[in-house]
C-alpha cells in the first residue's frame, strides 16, 4: 500500500485525526501520550464554534497536511462525524470510525506495522470489546 515507505525525513508521524466536541480530541490524545508517549500518531481537531462548512474545511486541510486517511470521531450524529462523512464523497479512501474511545486509540497506536486503514478496523473492534460494566455479574 501507499502508506508504506513513508519513512523519509520530514514525513508527518500523524496516521489519524481525532475529532470531536469540546476538548474531547485533545483530551484523548493527551491520554494516549501519557500512556504510550505516542500522542504524535494523532492530530486533534475540535468542532467548537465552527460552522459545518468551516469544520469540513478544517478536517479536509488536516487530512491533506498530515497525509492521514483515518478519522476517529466522538459521536455518530456529531458535527465532526457529519463533516467527515461529507468529505468522504471526494475522498473515498478515507476511513471514518465514530464513537472513538481510549482503548481504541491505544490499539491503533500499537498497530504501526499494518496500513492505517487495516489498523483502524482492528482498533474499532478492540474499542468495542473494551466496554464493560465493572462488577456486573450476570
Amino acid at each position: 500500500m501507499s502508506e508504506k515507505g513513508a519513512t523519509a525525513a520530514g514525513v508527518s508521524p500523524v496516521r489519524a485525526l481525532v475529532a470531536g466536541h469540546g476538548d474531547f480530541a485533545a483530551g484523548l490524545v493527551s491520554a494516549v501520550q501519557q500512556i504510550t508517549g505516542r500522542g504524535d500518531v494523532f492530530r486533534a481537531v475540535s468542532a467548537r464554534d465552527l460552522s459545518g462548512v468551516d469544520l469540513e474545511a478544517l478536517i479536509d486541510r488536516s487530512l491533506t497536511e498530515t497525509g492521514a486517511v483515518v478519522v476517529f470521531t466522538d459521536l455518530q450524529a456529531g458535527s465532526c462525524t457529519m463533516a467527515a462523512r461529507r468529505l468522504t464523497r471526494n475522498r473515498p479512501n478515507v476511513v471514518l470510525v465514530a464513537g472513538a474511545n481510549l482503548p481504541m486509540l491505544l490499539d491503533f497506536v500499537f498497530a504501526d506495522n499494518v496500513p492505517p486503514v487495516e489498523a483502524a478496523r482492528h482498533a474499532m473492534e478492540r474499542g468495542r470489546d473494551a466496554i464493560g460494566a465493572i462488577g456486573d455479574r450476570k
Binding site: S51, G52, D54, D74, L75, A77, S79, M82, R85, R89
Partner: protein, 165 residues
C-alpha cells in the same frame, strides 16, 4: 406533544440537537426544512445516518413544510423542526399563519459578512433584519445553544458585542 422546538442551526442535525436537546425533551422525530437538502438524496442519506434509531427524520422544502406543518403539530410524539438559516425559518413562519410562537437561534457561525453576537451566533445586517421580522410575525425569538444555558432575548442578542457570554 407535537413540535416542541423550532430551531435555526447551520449544522442542522448534529450532537447538540440529537443529544443536547433530544435526550431531555425525549425527541422522537426531526423535521429538517431546507430547500437544498430536500433536493438531494445524498444529503438526506447523510443526515439519516447521523440520526439515532429512536428518531425519525422527515425532509421538506420550505414550501412543503408549510403545507405539512399542521400534520406534525398534531403528532403525538415530541419533535424538533430545523432550518439551516434565518431566511428559511422566516418564510416558513410567514406561511404558517402564526402557528409558530417561539423560535430558537441555536447556531449561526462565522462568515465574512457576519458580526459576532454570541459565542455561537454571528449575524449579517440582513439576518438581523430577518430576525426582527420573525419577531414581528409573532414568534418570540431567543438564542440558546443547549438547554443548560440561559436563553438570550432578541433585543439582548442584537445589542450584545462579541465575547459576551
Amino acid at each position: 406533544m407535537s413540535l416542541v422546538l423550532y430551531r435555526i442551526d447551520d449544522r442542522l442535525i448534529h450532537g447538540q440537537v440529537v443529544v443536547g436537546w433530544g435526550q431531555p425533551l425525549d425527541i422522537r422525530f426531526i423535521v429538517l426544512v431546507d430547500d437544498e437538502v430536500a433536493r438531494s438524496e445524498w444529503e438526506q442519506e447523510l443526515y439519516r445516518m447521523g440520526t439515532p434509531p429512536e428518531m425519525d427524520v422527515y425532509f421538506h422544502s420550505v414550501d412543503d413544510a408549510a403545507q405539512a406543518l399542521s400534520k406534525y403539530r398534531e403528532d403525538e410524539r415530541p419533535g424538533i423542526l430545523l432550518t439551516g438559516d434565518v431566511a428559511s425559518m422566516l418564510r416558513l413562519v410567514k406561511q404558517a399563519n402564526s402557528e409558530v410562537r417561539e423560535v430558537n437561534v441555536g447556531g449561526i457561525h462565522h462568515r465574512s459578512d457576519r458580526k459576532q453576537r454570541l459565542r455561537y451566533v454571528f449575524l449579517s445586517p440582513s439576518e438581523e433584519q430577518l430576525l426582527r421580522e420573525l419577531s414581528d410575525a409573532g414568534a418570540s425569538v431567543t438564542a440558546q445553544d443547549v438547554p443548560a444555558t440561559h436563553p438570550v432575548e432578541l433585543s439582548e442578542l442584537l445589542a450584545s458585542e462579541a465575547g459576551v457570554q
